[in-house]
């Protein structure tokens, strides 16, 4: 791997001193984590509101105006809850599992360019790094399932590992089309590459890849209809059945961060990241004043909304159908997409 030297890796001008650079990096990390945490808190709020309105009810209404302070109340409650560790469980692994789950997903945020020139680490294998980190979080789930010494948690962990491994392949393959088109694994380059088209996104030529990516992302983040590892009606709460209080909250956090990361990757790889479609800017030039971060967040929120929308609509898959879908439908389709993209790229 070529990091363009240490300075390039950190994404700073080369003439600043190391000390200043590290401080800048730390500030960036703090900002990203703070923004993400706030987003996670309000993602839960919006999930409850959106699903609530889809289900002809109001959602949280009591804490603050329209229940706006509900996530804070939830956080405080979870923080002060008693932390129960199963007596027969593997204590250290049990405590380590939620930390791994959260930190793996959290570190994936490091390479995501939020707007022009803002990313914590500009590495040229960004996409691979995100895939690696998202599969690392499966370790947290498996460890949680194993160490709880509960059969429901164990089954949940097993299901999760099988599911993550199967869908990891489809997820990776669906992004190969994007890599072929942009010729880079660097997320910044991928966004720039999309600007070459008048519509400014890979979504249109890569519609098949986008579809596969979305389905695999749902499975990767254990969201409905693929929430088998935590299938409430079968496995009580799946791998975190035995968790309570703050450790439970960490898993929750991990799941939501993973959801946000997946939404970000979808936006960067298929929707043109923080850029607006050139054709739109040509027709409505005044849109150029809208900063990139706004575009980026609108697109990310749309994807998060999509997660909620699907959750409110469809039932849960059965385990064997899930596997069949992953191996017999998504992976062949993804391969087909790669072949088609390569041929077109070679021919034109």
């Amino acid at each position: 791997m070529d990091f363009n030297g240490f300075y390039g890796f950190l994404g700073c001008p080369q003439n600043t001193s190391l000390c200043v650079q590290i401080i800048i990096i730390l500030i960036k990390i703090a900002v990203v984590i703070a923004v993400t945490m706030l987003h996670v808190a309000y993602a839960t709020y919006f999930e409850r509101k959106v699903i609530g309105h889809m289900q002809v009810r109001l959602g949280p209404m009591r804490v603050g105006p329209h229940g706006l302070l509900q996530p804070i109340a939830d956080g405080v409650k979870l923080f002060f809850k008693e932390d129960v560790i199963p007596q027969a469980g593997d204590k250290w692994v049990f405590q380590l599992a939620p930390i791994i789950a959260v930190f793996a997903t959290l570190s994936a945020l490091a390479v995501i360019p939020i707007f022009e020139g803002f990313m914590i680490a500009n590495i040229n294998v960004g996409l691979l790094y995100i895939l690696a980190m998202s599969s690392l979080s499966a370790y947290g789930i498996i460890m949680a399932g194993w160490s709880s010494n509960s059969k429901y948690a164990f089954l949940g962990g097993l299901r999760s590992s099988a599911q993550v491994i199967s869908y990891e392949i489809a997820l990776g393959l669906s992004l190969v089309g994007v890599m072929l088109m942009s010729g880079s694994l660097n997320l910044y380059e991928i966004v720039k590459g999309q600007q070459e088209y008048w519509y400014g996104m890979y979504l249109i030529p890569q519609f098949l890849g986008y579809f596969i990516f979305l389905v695999a992302a749902f499975a990767e983040t254990n969201r409905t209809p693929f929430d088998l590892p935590e299938a409430e009606s079968e496995l009580v709460a799946g791998y975190f059945t035995e968790y309570s209080g703050m450790r439970f909250a960490l898993f929750f956090l991990g799941e939501y961060i993973a959801m946000i990361v997946m939404a970000c990757v979808a936006v960067i790889c298929f929707w043109g990241g923080w850029t607006a479609p050139p054709i739109l800017l040509k027709w409505f030039p005044f849109l150029a004043v809208v900063p990139g971060i706004v575009w980026f967040f609108i697109k990310v929120y749309f994807h998060i909304f999509l997660f909620y929308w699907v959750r409110a609509t469809v039932p849960r898959y059965r385990y064997d159908f899930l596997m069949r879908l992953g191996w017999k439908v998504l992976i062949p389709l993804a391969l087909l997409n790669i072949v088609a993209t390569s041929i077109i790229k070679y021919a034109f």
Partner: protein
């Protein structure tokens, strides 16, 4: 490959319940799993056993009535009606026609309410969360209708031996009519959400198959049996109340699976609406409680002479009638017995009374559909996947209060 052959695999035993989100109460299933496949399924019940049959033996017929509410608490009105129909036949009380129609309306409203709870929980178990809230919203309307008639919403005890407690109001009739107008649209809403959904179809079609012969042999009744294509319905075979005066069909399934049982219940919604509509239109004026209906202080010992002081009725609205116990015999007790079945939403609810001529039943036996249906679970579940166990528990529609009695 020899290494893999030498590996020993072991089934895990999972204790599903009595506290589990999807076992509809306190059902406990011991599942032996080979991976995700169920090798053996053993249901354990009795966590909600309250000894209703024993209690019934120590209460008079009239005071045993509220016990039946607490059996199947999502369709309490049907249980009450079943009990009343049985006791009326035992005491040969003739129910006024208006009361018969009111009870038919109530029984069908209860059928809708029960099937609403069923579709809500069944869909939630399979993972379709929205149906739950849509259908619970509509159940509220039925509970409001209950409240208009008798003030209670869940454990109603509204029917009485010999009729119903009080007459329905004009307001109720109008609201009920409006309900029959609007409810068919609501059914369409549920169907839009799940009927053609591919995941729903995958989860239900071809799951939990039980052939018609097996279904009868296992004693299944109600929609669970009709999903297998057997048109057995007590309302048609032995009509009670006003069921012989209304026109309705008995929907049956074809493929004997979870999906067909679901379709049966969805069609029953429409038939129930049809019955309620007819009852509202045909309902005559008149008394709602038979003059000879027994009161709460139904004598524990039968009056020796016909001129014994008659008990008061609970409401005091009808003139105090003479109680109609079976003719007293001088030579020891004579045991008469009677088995009367009614069609409650879950299946055939049978009351078997042995009467010794006193005001208390000598033996009160309850044939609860949930009890019989829970017994068939091992047959449905063994060999299927864990996820299908959940679908199967949902499809047989059990309430543990009735199962354990």
């Amino acid at each position: 490959m020899a290494v893999i052959k030498d590996l020993k695999t072991k089934e895990i035993t999972i204790n599903m319940g009595p506290q589990h989100p999807a076992t509809h109460g306190v059902l406990r299933l011991m599942l032996e799993l080979d991976g995700e496949t169920v090798v053996k399924c053993t249901p354990y019940i009795g966590y909600l056993h309250r000894g209703t049959e024993k209690l019934g033996e120590n209460k008079t017929y009239a005071t045993a009535l509220p016990l039946t509410d607490r059996l199947d608490y999502v369709s309490s009105m049907s249980n009450n009606i079943g009990f009343c129909v049985a006791v009326e036949k035992l005491l040969s009380i003739k129910v006024p026609e208006r009361a018969q129609y009111i009870r038919t309306i109530m029984a069908e409203l209860t059928r809708i309410a029960n099937h609403i709870v069923w579709i809500a929980t069944h869909a939630l178990d399979i993972g379709a969360m929205t149906v739950f809230l849509y259908s619970m919203r509509d159940r509220e309307w039925i509970l409001d209708l209950y409240e208009m008639t008798c003030g209670a919403r869940l454990t109603v005890s509204y029917p009485r031996i010999g009729g119903v407690r009080c007459d329905v109001t004009r307001e109720f009739m109008e609201s009920c009519y409006q309900f029959t107008e609007e409810f068919p649209e609501k059914i369409l809403q549920y169907e839009t959400l799940i009927d053609k959904n591919r995941i729903w179809l995958q989860r239900t079609v071809g799951i939990g198959i039980i052939s018609p012969e097996d279904a009868i042999n296992w004693g299944l009744t109600g929609p669970t049996l009709r999903g297998s294509g057997v048109p057995y319905d007590v309302r048609k075979f032995a009509p009670y109340d006003a069921y012989d005066k209304v026109d309705f069909e008995v929907p049956i399934g074809k493929n004997c699976d979870v999906y067909d049982r679901y379709r049966c219940r969805m069609d029953e919604f429409r038939q129930s609406v049809k019955i309620i509509r007819q009852c509202l239109e045909k309902m005559p004026e008149g008394l709602v409680l038979a003059p000879e209906a027994p009161g709460y202080d139904m004598p524990a010992v039968p009056p020796k002479k016909p001129a014994a002081p008659p008990p008061k009725t609970a409401e005091g609205e009808a003139p105090p009638p003479p109680p109609p116990p079976p003719p007293p015999e001088e030579t020891g007790p004579v045991f008469n017995e009677l088995y009367v079945a009614t069609e409650v939403p879950k299946g055939e609810l049978g009351f078997y009374f042995i009467s010794d001529g006193t005001g208390k039943p000598y033996r009160m036996r309850l044939r609860a559909p949930s009890f019989v249906h829970a017994g068939v679970l091992p047959k449905l579940c063994e060999g299927s996947l864990v996820a299908d166990v959940i679908a199967n528990i949902g499809t047989i529609d059990i309430v543990l209060g009735e199962c354990d009695r």
